[in-house]
Amino acid sequence: MLLQTHGLSRYFAGITANEDVDFDLQKGEIRALIGPNGAGKTTFTSMVIGRLAPSKGSIIFEGQDITHLPAHERVRLGMAYTFQITSVFANLSVFENVALAARRKMRAKDATLTAHVTELLEKVGLAGRGEDLASDLSYGHQRLLEIAMGLASAPKLLILDEPTQGLAEAEIAAFKSLVRSLVPETTVLLIEHNMSVVMELADTITVLNAGQTLAFGTPSEVQANAAVQSAYLGGSEDA
């Protein structure tokens, strides 16, 4: 078991964003986290990575309770997070963006680092763009840069928050094969709106609704789940 949460809850001034979320993630799987807007997906991942403190509950990573660890220490334990709204270092070069992510772990000689960063840029499809400023990249390319930064530290758990938003069809296809190539060394938690990406990539899916776990299962199980359908359609029929 790589990641577990027990009764994870978060309240904002009386509004419940997450309520008693129990979550288990096996090593080596690709898990999708889906749910309608406002279901609490971002709140949940923010608590997992440590950007937001839970109101109650606990988070266990590789058997260690990390509920009270600051974000940077969780990253050091092997988590990586790519932002939903791209958050690259806009004024630094593409190369330096990835190098910053890689350097902490590598502590390597310049040549090794350069090779590693170049390889990563190639992997996400940004070969040859290293010298450009990150802000000069298109939105889609900035998302790819985010992913390269996430991969740079060779994480055990990679959390991708809506990675395909703003990507073109061809880029999405490349993204899918990229994510597939990461497992089983890296475990992937994917927050995604694009259902075709979810259904093709995910081994298992957790569905959040109104801050709570609504369903869990394989893609076909979840697709067949009446409660999920009603949540997505906003219908009022009994599930």
Partner: protein, 314 residues
């Protein structure tokens, strides 16, 4: 030429030019440049925190004075030799900046500026209050015969110039190394996007604290150097004005560039020197420059060069 080669030749070139200048300039200008190099060292220290880490302090005069009095009080009251006193000043500067950093870094943004301003104001008042040790407003003058370093008489113009150059070159090359080293890169990342840097696994608070200590210690070295080379101390150096000046120098020269602090200090020193001949309201120039830089040229001289000419400028 590789970026490293270009960078090294530019910065070593500046040091060489400054070295050569002493043979060209008359004694008055030589004295000016010596003073500018010491003040530029102060600006280099300020730049580590403001330019590279993105933290705007309004109280750096307290670090300058920690060095100034950290050197001058042991020398004046306890006859400590200059070499040891200089080391003491560095240690005091480092310890004091660590303390200030631990407290002030609990705040962010505007609160950080006000906290540093208030700490510096307290230091200023304490210097006035401890007049028995500091002679308050008028300060004291270090006895000429004590101002020697390893047997070299620092009251001699040539020796003074050489010592100022060594101080300045050390600070310049140190920051050049720092901002290209992993730690310096993280400082830049903290400036650019704190949240992202933290999610790359970097301890933001620790890096900010490192920046405060490095910045405070370089500023203290400049203060100690000033007292040692020019012989005088005084509470004036603890006033708000001496916290604003490095900000102005760095903004003018280019925040977040290694050469910027020197360029800004050089231009502003001569501008204010010239204005002071014309009017007693010479700080008007400083005020106008601050407003104009904020409005029209936030990247300063070296920053503009980097933007349009030399992308590689560190």
């Amino acid at each position: 030429m590789s970026v490293t080669a270009k960078t090294l030749s530019l910065h070593l070139g500046l040091i060489a030019v400054l070295f050569a200048l002493q043979f060209i300039l008359g004694p008055y200008q030589q004295g000016n440049i010596a003073r500018i190099m010491v003040l530029a060292t102060y600006a280099i220290g300020y730049n580590v925190l403001f330019g590279y880490t993105g933290l705007l302090s309004l109280g750096h005069a307290m670090f300058f004075c920690a060095g100034m009095y950290g050197l001058a009080i042991p020398m004046y009251h306890f006859s400590v030799p200059a070499e040891l006193a200089f080391l003491m000043a560095l240690a005091i500067g480092a310890g004091f900046s660590l303390l200030v950093g631990l407290l002030a870094l609990r705040t962010i943004g505007v609160a950080f500026m006000i906290v540093t301003l208030m700490f510096a104001q307290a230091v200023y008042l304490i210097i006035l209050y401890a007049a028995e040790w500091t002679r308050g407003d008028e300060g004291f003058v270090l006895v000429q015969s004590t101002r020697t370093l390893f047997g070299v008489d620092l009251t001699d113009d040539t020796a003074k110039y050489a010592a100022a150059l060594v101080l300045f070159a050390t600070a310049l090359l140190f920051t050049l190394w720092l901002v290209r080293a992993p730690t310096g890169r993280v400082l830049i990342a903290v400036r650019e996007n704190e949240d992202r840097a933290s999610l790359l696994g970097y301890d933001i608070h620790r890096h900010k604290l490192i920046a405060v200590v490095i910045s405070g210690t370089i500023s203290a070295a400049a203060g100690a150097g000033y007292a040692l080379l020019f012989g005088n101390t005084g509470s004036t150096f603890a006033t708000v004005q001496y916290s604003i000046l490095p900000l102005l120098w760095v903004l003018l020269g280019g925040a977040g560039t290694v050469l910027g602090p020197f360029l800004g200090t050089l231009f502003m020193y001569y501008l204010i020197d010239y204005a002071a001949d014309v009017t007693n309201a010479y700080m008007l120039i400083a005020g106008a420059a601050l407003v104009a830089l904020t409005l029209f040229a936030p990247t300063g001289i070296a920053g503009t060069v980097r933007k349009h000419l030399w992308r590689w400028l560190p």
